[in-house]
């Protein structure tokens, strides 16, 4: 599962090519508890629910197959 963290990073980079801040932390070192911090102009004007929905959408694969056991998300919009 060592390849999991870079893969999440790659998925998010692909989905948010204009992100000004993007970090994926493996919170426990176990490859299944992650914290995502993401700042993107795409979030401007969206509710937090809709911002997080975009992140969930980008990570739908690893969320569905159980790779991600827990996901913490912190999003911000930039103009």
């Amino acid at each position: 599962m060592d390849a999991t963290a870079p893969t999440l990073q790659e998925l998010l980079e692909r989905a948010f090519p204009d992100a000004t801040e993007l970090a994926v932390h493996d919170r426990t070192g176990g490859g299944d508890h992650f914290q995502v911090v993401l700042t993107s102009p795409r979030f401007v004007g969206l509710s937090l629910v809709d911002q997080h929905r975009l992140v969930y959408g980008a990570l739908a694969g690893p969320l569905a197959d159980g790779t991600i056991h827990e996901l913490r998300i912190r999003t911000k919009g930039t103009a």
Binding site: H52, R72, I73
Partner: protein
């Protein structure tokens, strides 16, 4: 639409504040559920708690309805407010209280807590 999905929808629409969580009001089984519950309790919100752990179908049907993949999920006035991170963030900024007031009224804070058992034969 399954009967379980109908029941979940009813709970979301009927309860002023519904939290779908891992564990119950006395024994919370997950740190994130605990964070969300704690934020609601701190504001004296009336809480209807649904434990998703007894049957994996609850979580599947809930996520299909809400389009939200993770637990907990907090609904106020029938609308998804978010998971633990959002509820935390909104509690910090004061917006959670604003949302409770806006959707439930200024006198929302009854602090009433109850458990909703989706699998109970008679409702």
């Amino acid at each position: 639409m399954s009967e379980l999905a109908d029941t979940i929808r009813e709970v979301i629409e009927r309860e002023p504040v519904a939290i779908f969580m891992k564990g119950n009001l006395r024994f919370v089984m997950c740190g994130n559920s605990d964070r969300a519950l704690g934020a609601l309790r701190a504001l004296g919100a009336p809480i209807a708690a649904v434990d998703v752990l007894p049957d994996p179908r609850i979580r599947q049907e809930l996520s299909a309805l809400s389009g939200w993949p993770t637990i907990p999920q907090v609904f106020v006035g029938g609308e998804l407010v978010g998971g633990a991170d959002i509820v935390d963030e909104l509690a910090e900024s004061g917006e959670l209280r604003d949302t409770l007031r806006a959707r439930l009224g200024d006198d929302y804070a009854t602090g009433e807590e109850r458990t909703v058992d989706l699998l109970a034969p008679a409702r």
